[in-house]
Symmetry: D2
């Protein structure tokens, strides 16, 4: 029964980078792919129960609004990140079969894709005209259709979209920064956490206690004192009024790590809002350096020592 | 001669929120408005000398990519922020004259506009279909044209776009959060700084010395020790490899303030990159609280005291 | 049986300020007073089992070496502070009966007593000669004896010593700083701790992890992050080589307070030596301000919250 | 003319460890030695102009009150430290010629000397009686006199005192900790500072702005942010009431170092009292590690950079 396969909402249609991320997570044979028109819809599909999982870009995106993802995770009913996935971001310059690169006078591209390929275009297609489109796959669909009125001869599209829409590649691996990577996350409802792997991240949203100088510093000291490093921090306007900020944070480590637990409890005590958004394996697998005295064994030793002191066993 | 008027690049076409921000800065009688297809083009127009100024969204945007703005300011030839402008963000539901709200079965909207108005639409146009478009003004232009093949009857557009394209308003001030505001900045080439007003901001890009735990904290202490408060901080991937971050920062105060100067020198000494992106008046005019001992007079007193000590005058 | 009364070692002989402190703790009817020749002997008497308690000066002393007390507590078999006692420090100018103040040309005084009364002596006995003595009671004993060869006519002695040695007071309450107070502590072997009163102190000895810049700061952040204030901190040379220091610390709060427990565990994890020297009521009874989020209830709430998160109950 | 030689006040009489420190500074041929009865008198001799210099113990002393030195430097008319000197602290067990060690049943010793030699005495003279004396040289003078009524046969005295008073050594280099060292300082009136050597210390007295949690931390951050390490910190009761503290601090570096100057200005701005007590070469000659970005050249570079920014030269 197809309905028994897990359903994954993602920014569609077929051929997007987000779909490429989703393919890394689960094959279309094992899951039902549910394309959505935007990232908010993808996340809401999980909240409403239409899907078990959503795959959305979370950083450095050429596709979907990272801001919308962060803001949607930060409020509303709880969702957690279960996994992260990296996708290399480069484009194919695609056209209808029979088109030569010399015929190209206008190129369709999402503004982010255009920005990403600016240098390449200036060098290889000097003077070419940019036709702005809503998404990376829109022009692939258009070129793949029978429509004769299209105002461009080629488009910058995700590699996976070329064959899908019956196009051919005029130039492959187009990108000014060949090491550009987008980070995607798999999001689901709260429940059992992914097991710690030793190379994990924990995502949080934290509001500062007050707006005064030093409040941010005090918040960060909750992490630093316990030896928890941050890999990402972004202030986001809270939205009720300009000037109040929440912080979207990725911290190195897993909720089950003693140091992470103590840091989170510290935040919980002094910050008006602490929202847990998941502990999950890092896509890059890098094992963070654990500072001396902050491993679980050190926490356990200190707890035993304190218990002994409190029982009067001073050494 | 029109050419003698200053030229302002902005995200066009006419009718965008960015144009509304630009109108707050300078009237079309006094400046030449140069619409651009994206925010990067607007900023590059200043770099290339095609424009004297650019107006771009810098935070909480429903229009243009804030990320692209931050990244474009952070590298390439220097640009500085000269002023900030706030624009209230709400939409008109616009249609061709003669359309009734009951006729509307599909609404065109940029995904961000749609997200901003989700609640209103669910309540007032339940079941309406979303047609995604590239920009806030695209559907206003389409509805304003003779095209009979359009797949929607109404669109969410900036209020300024309604009359401009010969449309009428079916519902005004549509927005789920009526206090939503977007922050825009006026950007120009380096040169003389705006004079300090007592209610100023300084924008910076700073790279951390290392990736180790505590490096972010040490960077922030450069501000805190001198009593400089931050109003915004965002980590941005540096781009050469995932996991290295730069920080985009707004600090309260002006480059000419003694405490800001000392904090910046502190950063300069310990961080590999410190890029100054301007000191300019805050749009909200809020005068920050200056902590005791951090006003210019305290700095001057301390300098005299140190000079006396070094000359052997110990009291 | 006298032996069944608890034995208190103190810096003797009878009449010292230390004895005055001891009298505040327990009357001579209820305890055996064991005078010692120095503070180290008093503390060692507890270690050897010769006494159940020792009373010694710990701060701002005119009697006994505070340094010796701190160093003796910091090494050797464990001792803990059980209580603190304050004694106002002023002297009587005492002499043999029949002596007039006009007859006084030389005054015996311990150097610390002399220092404490310098201003008074300059004003009231200008030109008087100082005869330095080993302790505050030595000249009281000498004047009280039959010895005719004594090189002074009067002495600065603790008020309690005057009648004890058969002397009379020429001038009472002699002290340049009338609010001078010495802090004494009652020391015993480890065991059951004094119950928390809400106005407690915890004494510690802590060695820094390394000698590098910032190590002291990191140690203090272990307290500050948990909202624990310090009321005293002194660096003491460790003694193995010049330049290595240990820190003698009084922190506000009791070992049983959650914030104190977590701070101590933090120290235990990152510092090579953390020695607990007791939790006991403050003599001044001042209840410290507890920062929001650092009371026991906040710790308990945070623990429940973390446990729920770890069980998958994300809200 | 002898009067033209500089006059050095010190804790006398001849034969003290302080005199040994003074001999390292200047020979008796080149200076007039002015023995004083206590360390306060030695310091006051400089204030009154009776002496040009004073030599006093400042740390880990077996002689004179370090506390009294710190407190005397911390208030009254200004004095500064000009140099520090280290003296190894061990004793000779001295007696009248003809005395055998077997004859010794009582040993005179200052309580600090006794404490320092406790282990040796227990092993080599088990059961010997302690006769407490006011200073390290008192028993040397007594044994060297004709007095036949002395209640001891030997004394622990500084090595220099043995021959001086006509005694002989029964046991040399007596000390439980053979590496014990006392730190002395040479103190003078303010004026020209000793030139920086690259291995210098700066001594300060600082009062905290308030008593609240974190005030100490903020004070220390003034040093840490500029990369200035502390080698000693002691809280001292201010004396007006119990519970208010001043801090006696030794910081690594010289007043003329840019980082030290900026740290001191930072303290000056936020602390009610900052008293400079001198910059002088370290006796141990150890060159401190200078953190990257805190050398004078880095400060000069940052100043040039800031000046350029303020002039509009943004790069």
């Amino acid at each position: 029964v197809p309905g028994s396969r897990p359903r994954y909402a993602f920014l569609g249609p077929a051929g997007t980078f987000t779909e490429a991320a989703l393919r890394q997570v689960v094959s279309p044979d094992e899951a039902e792919y549910l394309p959505q028109i935007d990232v908010i819809s993808a996340l809401e599909a999980v909240r409403s129960g239409t899907a078990e999982r959503a795959v959305v870009a979370i950083e450095n995106s050429v596709e979907g609004s990272v801001t919308a993802v962060l803001d949607t995770l930060a409020s509303g009913s709880p969702l957690v990140v279960l996994r992260e996935v990296l996708v290399a971001v480069f484009f194919d310059l695609a056209a209808r079969p029979g088109t030569a690169i010399e015929d190209v006078t206008a190129v369709a591209a999402h503004p982010h894709a255009w920005a990403q390929c600016r240098g390449w275009l200036a060098k290889n297609l000097p003077g070419v005209r940019h036709v702005s489109v809503t998404s990376n796959t829109t022009p692939a669909q258009a070129l793949g259709s029978d429509d004769r009125e299209i105002a461009y001869q080629a488009a910058l599209v995700p590699p996976a979209a070329v064959a899908l829409y019956g196009l051919v590649t005029l130039a492959a691996t187009v990108a000014d920064n060949p090491s550009a990577v987008t980070r995607f996350v798999v999001v689901g409802p709260p429940g059992e956490l992914p097991a710690p792997t030793g190379a994990d991240k924990t995502s949080l949203v934290v509001h500062l206690p007050t707006n005064r100088a030093g409040a941010l510093l005090e918040m960060l000291e909750q992490f630093a004192t316990r030896g928890v490093n941050l890999s990402r921090i972004e202030s986001r306007p809270i939205g009720d009024e300009l000037g109040r900020y929440s912080f979207s944070i990725d911290a190195e480590g897993h909720l089950s790590d003693a140091r992470m637990g103590e840091a989170l409890m510290g935040l919980r005590r002094v910050c008006p809002v602490v929202r847990f958004l998941g502990s999950y394996p890092r896509a890059d697998g890098v094992v963070p350096q654990v500072r001396p005295g902050t491993a679980d064994a050190s926490f356990a030793d200190a707890e035993r020592w304190l218990a002994a002191l409190r029982a009067g066993h001073v050494k």
